[in-house]
Amino acid sequence: MVNKIKVKQLSCYYNKKCVLKSLSINIVQNEILSVIGPANSGKTTFLRTLNRMNDLNIAYYRDGVVYLDDNNIFDMNMEKLRRRVGMLFAMPIPLPMSIYENIVYAPKLFGLIKTKSEQNDIVEQTLKDASLWDEVKDRLNFSAMKMSGGQQQRLCIARILAVNPEVILFDEPCSGLDPISTAKVEEAMIELKRKYTIVLVTNNVKQASRVSDKTAFFLMGRLIEIDKTGELFVSPKKKETEDYITGRFG
């Protein structure tokens, strides 16, 4: 049980409005932590803080520290941090190029792969890891924009794997997908936790109970409860958690 990420007293603000209040949370290596909670509970802000995507927003301001392997991420070089902490967005965003190019795009820029055969290997390996290989192996040079939503989302996972991160953040990755595509993405996620640490933000309480090892419940910018997923869903300690997971609000 190694803590991959340690969040200490993290508070986040947009235009001086507090959206996350002194949050402290530990994320264990090779586990899936899912974050559930109603809208405006600060889940996505929390996620986008972990790889500093929010730093692009000038209205955003934060306080506190986040350690990744004992290094404060706010002192790190942003590009290096994002290579270690990848992110999958709510809507699949393939880049406007072929499936193949989507995967080799970042590793090529980083100089991680040089020869054509190395490129082929990384494309095959990552697509297999994202359980997409069998569906697209014959049309790697087709535009990624023409794939179905579920395939695009798995391509985005493969693209993240290609830069070999340590942590992957999923921001409601299945909100636009049908149940079968959702099942495939979840399947990929469970496979991935062997190698990576995963944080999953989801609006789908059932999804959290299906895939995650631990679940955290956020409400109005506060962490209400965090526990092993089995415990939290069977016997929540706080009333708000119980109300939310039984569907009484949210």
Binding site: M53, R82, R83, I93, L95, P96, F110
Partner: protein, 284 residues
């Protein structure tokens, strides 16, 4: 207030709108018609490829065509890189603070300055202060300054038409900002940049006032040798032959106008075709 029934008012407003469209189109068609009718007889291979003769009353307009061509070419070589870089800075890097807002406001307003003012500015700065003399380079630089705000605005438009999500996806992989611009934003903005550029070329090739004091000559008996030469140019040549030379054959005047018009229209057509081509190829 008179109350019309909906059917009648619909018909009335429809008719009114049709008339206004007609009013907008008719003058353009008339201009083209008049120029083609009067000028077509002057157009020949010789007209396009020979020097003016007999006090410009005979012969061709080759030096004017080449003069306009060289001024516009020099000008775009200077403007495009500066304009694209400035637009990238403003669109991708600049923070939204007071200074940026002032710069943006200045750019919008510069685009509205009368072109003769640019001409005087060019005379003062390039011709006299930098001692470039009345020359292709002085005229081209003056046109560049005039065109820069327009180029910056079009390129910014092209850059912001690339979805923000592409940038986020690229950045989230750990790709740096510049690499994202270089490999994602710019390739997808090229169509917009290209069409914008062609349209500004078309626009500046017809400008007279900025080159009046900075590049254009009444008559030059030879073709331009270097960028420090004075040149004849189509719009200025047209002005001279239609106002300064007595007994000028009418069809030569209209023929010159037709050549200028055709140059501009051809470039606009190229821009339209390029836009259609890129829109079809676009993957998003």
């Amino acid at each position: 207030m008179i109350k019309l029934n909906p059917k009648l008012s619909q018909k009335l407003s429809y008719t009114l709108l049709c008339i206004t469209v007609g009013l907008a189109i008719v003058p353009i068609l008339m201009i083209v018609f008049v120029i083609v009718k009067n000028g077509l007889s002057a157009i020949s291979w010789e007209f396009l490829t020979s020097m003016p003769k007999n006090g410009m009353r005979e012969g061709g307009i080759l030096p004017a065509i080449l003069g306009t061509f060289s001024i516009v070419l020099c000008s775009i070589i200077v403007t495009l890189p500066i304009g694209v870089c400035a637009a990238i800075y403003l669109n991708e890097y600049a923070k939204n603070n007071l200074l940026t807002r002032i710069i943006k406001l200045a750019i919008v307003n510069l685009a509205g300055v009368p072109s003769v003012v640019y001409g005087l500015f060019g005379l003062g700065i390039f011709v006299m202060f930098f001692r470039l003399g009345v020359s292709i380079i002085a005229g081209a630089l003056t046109l560049s300054i005039m065109e820069l705000p327009v180029i910056i605005t079009t390129v910014r438009g092209a850059l912001s038409s690339v979805p923000h999500s592409f940038r986020e996806a690229s950045l989230s992989l750990g790709v740096s900002r510049w690499q994202t611009i270089r490999h994602i934003v710019l390739p997808n903005a090229i169509p917009g940049i290209l069409t914008g550029t062609i349209l500004s070329i078309a626009r500046i090739s017809g400008e007279t006032a900025p080159i009046l004091f900075t590049a254009a000559a009444f008559y030059v008996p030879h073709l331009p040798h270097s960028i420090f030469d004075q040149v004849m140019s189509l719009p200025y040549h047209l002005y001279i032959i239609s106002t300064q030379i007595p007994n000028m054959p009418k069809n030569l005047i209209y023929g010159t106008a037709l050549v200028l018009l055709m140059m501009v229209l051809t470039m606009s057509c190229v821009a339209i075709i390029a836009r259609i081509y890129f829109r079809k190829r676009r993957k998003w």
